[in-house]
């Protein structure tokens, strides 16, 4: 890998992030509601609102506001929460681990089950395993996370009372949110694994391996799996991004103390600095994950070098 490729990719990533920050900044500006008034409270006088507006530099020009916002963001200052008065960065830092832990656990579970499921389906196309995979895929991808989450709560927490419905106190409280979050990814990963594997098994080099007299297990694992992994890794990486960003609903349903719930709370409270901060953090993580996925190709496939 040449350094110039890395520089190119990083430049691209920075441009993306700049775009996101402009978008986030303008989006908040375009929203109805005056942040100064929210902070000041309903009873505040006109002078008080004006003072807060000046404090927040809301009276300045749009471009100047943006450069201030960007400069602050770069130094880790994402502003102050309008609601709690704490620094936004600190609020996010407190909530981020819960989200990341849940997403990583979910993707781990989804990868394990999904790849295994997909491999079995590819090994025996049009078998019972294969058909149940399709059924499961359709089911999982047509069920919205909040609905599945509620369903799981009703069954396991309310009906049978074997698992907690919310919180993050015991290890058992991880089970339902993980399952909810992983369900869709399992289906997707299984489907991609199956398709990639079937495609690989049709390749000429698989025939070459068989012509060498290699056992079916060897053909399948040494020659099939490694080649099929590339598209699977792509999906896993992108799914992890999705899970971190897509955990919002799951976190709300299970009262999970992550940044997804922080975002929802901030939206209801019109807490603009927090909204901005959370979205920026999301964008950063997704850009970073994409970068990691791309770079991981070079390790998996010798044909790809940058």
């Amino acid at each position: 890998m040449s350094g110039s490729y890395l520089v190119q990719r990083l430049t691209g990533a920075l441009i993306t992030l700049l775009g996101v920050s402009i978008f986030v900044f303008l989006m908040v500006k375009a929203l109805p509601g005056d942040p100064a008034r929210v902070i000041a409270g309903v009873d505040a006088t006109v002078e008080e609102v004006a003072r807060i507006r000046e404090e927040l530099k809301l009276d300045q020009g749009l471009f100047q506001q943006f450069t201030t916002f960007l400069g602050d963001a770069l130094t880790g200052n994402l502003g102050t929460s309008a609601k709690s008065g704490n620094p936004v960065a600190a609020e996010i830092a407190a909530r981020l681990p819960a989200t990341v832990q849940l997403a990583v656990l979910a993707i781990g579970v989804a990868t394990f089950i999904g790849v295994l499921f997909g491999l079995f389906a590819a090994l025996r196309p049009n078998s019972l395993v294969d058909y149940s995979l399709s059924a499961f895929t359709i089911g999982a991808s047509s069920m919205p996370a909040f609905w599945l989450g509620l369903l799981l709560i009703i069954v396991f927490a309310v009906q049978f009372q074997v698992l907690p419905a919310s919180g993050k106190d015991t290890w058992t409280s991880w089970i339902l949110p993980t399952a909810t979050l992983a369900a869709f990814s399992v289906a997707l990963i299984a489907r991609v694994t199956r398709a990639a594997m079937l495609e690989i098994l049709r390749q000429d080099y698989i025939r070459t391996a068989r012509a060498k007299g290699a056992s079916e297990r060897r053909v399948f694992i040494r020659h099939g799996l490694r080649n099929a992994l590339l598209p699977v890794i792509t999906v896993i990486g992108l799914q992890l991004g999705q899970l971190i960003g897509g955990a919002v609903l799951t976190e709300v349903v299970f009262s999970w103390p992550g940044i997804g719930r922080l975002l929802v709370e901030a939206i209801f409270a019109r807490d603009f600095p927090v909204i901005q901060g959370v979205i920026l953090v999301y964008a950063m993580m997704i850009v970073l994950l994409n970068l990691l996925v791309d770079l991981s190709y070079t390790l998996l496939d010798p044909r790809i070098s940058y």
Partner: protein
């Protein structure tokens, strides 16, 4: 009009109608950028075609022969202006079409058509034969009442029953699909058709059908053609003139009989020798087996590009690229030590 460039020493001026060139390529060069950067100029270029000059005679077939990486396909696509040449002239009907814009190209496209190797990829699978053949007529604004008779005529020309007109490409065999592709190229009566490996994907028995078809069409219509191929026996059978390319440069060129009869460039000799002969007893000549592979076009050898595989190579071959020089028989060769 004088079609002969001054650089070509010993070129005989031919006034005969048959010898008049319909298309002439002079100093055609095409580079492709590789290793592109986000900003600024690319770091590396591949010279796919380097200073190629030849003329296509009326009613004649000029074959471009070469192995993979020779640039033969790029030459074809550049003449059809599917690619823009980096430099050089493409003279057609007295005009240089090398750098003209998209608008003026429409007129040229009517006169220069192309047929590709793989008819499966070049025929839209969702169109019937009728639609496929109608399309060029519509694009070039033929009167509607002429469509039906023209399609009948075309099917007749390429030897397909008229009852096939409402079928889709997948209902045909490879050879039949190539006939459809040829009919489509012929539809608006072009002056030149560029055939890019038109028979390479076909079975031997069908290959011969298409070769004869092309020969007959040419005799009937006076079409000039450029026939791009890696197959020397096919080229030998159908071409009037041959250009031998190696890594984007012309090694040897001349009338087919002349070039196959007494090849002068070592590369041409090796190519001809490498074709497996059907009858062992008759072929007495010692086989020339070239060593090594084709060098990468991105990093061609200095001097003569063939020198790394040439058994005649001397010091001068590494330092000086030989000029393409011709004799009275219009037989050109670029070699310091030709036969």
């Amino acid at each position: 009009m004088n079609h002969i460039s001054s650089q070509e020493k010993g070129f005989r001026v031919v006034t005969d109608e048959e010898m008049r060139e319909v298309l002439r390529v002079e100093g055609l060069t095409k580079h492709f950028a590789i290793d592109k950067r986000l900003f600024g100029q690319p770091r590396k270029w591949v010279q796919a075609v380097d200073n190629v000059t030849f003329g296509v005679r009326g009613r004649g077939t000029l074959a471009i022969v070469g192995e993979s990486g020779s640039g033969k396909t790029t030459v074809g696509r550049t003449i059809a202006r599917l690619l823009k040449p980096s430099s050089g002239r493409i003279l057609f009907d007295g005009n240089d079409i090398a750098q003209i814009d998209e608008r003026s190209l429409r007129g040229v496209r009517k006169e220069i058509q192309m047929v590709f190797q793989n008819p499966n990829a070049s025929l839209n699978p969702r169109m019937t034969v009728r639609q496929l053949l109608c399309e060029p007529l519509i694009v070039h604004q033929w009167p509607k009442e002429e469509h039906r008779p023209r399609i009948e005529e075309l099917l007749e020309t390429v030897g397909l029953p008229h009852s096939y007109v409402d079928r889709y490409p997948h209902e045909f065999s490879g050879g039949q699909r190539q006939r459809i592709a040829i009919a489509r190229a012929l539809a608006i009566r072009p002056k030149v058709i560029i055939f890019d490996e038109p028979v390479s994907a076909l079975d031997v028995s069908v290959q011969a059908q298409i070769i004869q078809l092309l020969d007959r069409i040419q005799a009937d219509t006076g079409l000039a053609s450029i026939f791009i191929s890696h197959d020397l026996s096919v080229v030998r059978a159908i071409s009037d003139d041959v250009v031998v390319l190696y890594l984007g440069k012309v090694m040897e060129a001349g009338p087919s009989r002349e070039l196959f009869g007494s090849p002068r460039h070592p590369y041409t000799q090796a190519l001809i020798s490498a074709v497996p002969k059907m009858h062992k007893r008759k072929s007495q000549d010692a086989r020339i087996v070239l060593k090594g592979d084709l060098p990468s076009p991105a990093n061609p050898p200095s001097g003569c590009r063939f020198r790394t595989r040439c058994w005649k190579a001397q010091d001068i071959c590494a330092t000086k690229a030989p000029e393409l020089e011709g004799d009275a028989k219009r037989h050109f060769v670029a070699c310091h030590f030709p036969n």
